[in-house]
């Protein structure tokens, strides 16, 4: 059984935070982010400190085969719940597909929100296509990005479609641990 650990940023060691930032600050990841600036370790650690006790946001490092391979999160902003994820480029496509499914399920269960939102740069067509597989659809157009959303019912419906069903089936080979 393959193990995927989602470890809260607050629980990461300094070294783990450094590794996480080295992924976050890679050009390919920044190019796909709304915030393209490089984040330094001190600013990051101060920001992580502020996460403690904030129940409206959760940020996790994704650990696979003992290595930090990306990060995933949800946070409430302007009364809407948003989520985001990034991975190192070379991570297995299976892991890149399974972690979001697991985490979206977790967000809906944990927060009980009706809708989940995400922001996606307009030129990131592959990611938009990826999001649509989960039932996300365009909700709002902004300058250089779209806000997309999905309801819990729509997400469940998407999981019943053949495309997603075949991927969900692969989850039985993986165990998820949240720390």
């Amino acid at each position: 059984m393959n193990k995927i650990i989602l470890k809260r940023f607050e629980h990461l060691s300094i070294e783990e935070n450094k590794k996480l930032l080295s992924i976050r600050n890679k050009e390919d990841i920044r190019n796909q982010s709304l915030n393209k600036s490089i984040i330094d370790l001190n600013s990051h650690l101060k920001w992580v400190e502020n996460l403690k006790g904030d129940f409206k946001k959760e940020y996790y490092a994704i650990i696979y085969s003992g290595q930090i391979v990306g990060a995933i999160n949800f946070f409430e902003v302007n009364s809407t719940m948003k989520w985001g994820v990034y991975f190192k480029e070379e991570v297995s496509l299976l892991v890149k597909s399974l972690v979001p499914i697991y985490f979206i399920e977790y967000i809906f269960k944990k927060t009980q929100v009706e809708f989940l939102y995400l922001d996606r740069l307009k030129n990131n067509l592959n990611a938009i296509s990826f999001d649509k597989n989960f039932g996300f659809y365009f909700f709002q157009e902004n300058n250089d990005y779209f806000t997309m959303r999905v309801s819990s019912k729509e997400f469940e419906k998407a999981k019943e479609k053949k495309l997603l069903k075949r991927v969900v089936k692969k989850m039985s080979n993986y165990s998820f641990i949240m720390e």
Partner: protein, 96 residues
């Protein structure tokens, strides 16, 4: 064996495209891109396609193969580049 494998790959792709409705996949050939910069398939669709393909190949050749494993899915020179490279990869697994 080669022709049978290629036919299964193309048939599986056509069925996937019934859901996706991508123009680039309406008439797939050996050179049809599956994943990479010039492919329209996103990573989730590719994983779904590969999972379906595993079942079909296993049924057709009565041998279980695993395409969606870590090794293949994390290779930089991925066997999933196009229909041809994938077919060759499947044949190598069947002949192991």
């Amino acid at each position: 064996m080669k022709d049978r494998i290629e036919k299964i790959v193309i048939d599986t792709l056509l069925e996937l495209n019934e859901e996706l409705e991508l123009k680039s996949l309406t008439a797939p050939t050996l050179k049809t891109k599956l994943y990479g910069a010039s492919s329209e398939l996103d990573s989730l669709a590719l994983v779904s396609f590969i999972a379906d393909l595993e079942e079909r190949v296993s049924e057709e050749f009565n041998k279980d193969i695993v395409l969606a494993d870590e090794k293949a899915m994390s290779q930089k020179t991925s066997p999933f580049r196009n229909v041809e490279t994938l077919s060759v990869y499947i044949q190598s697994l069947l002949e192991e």
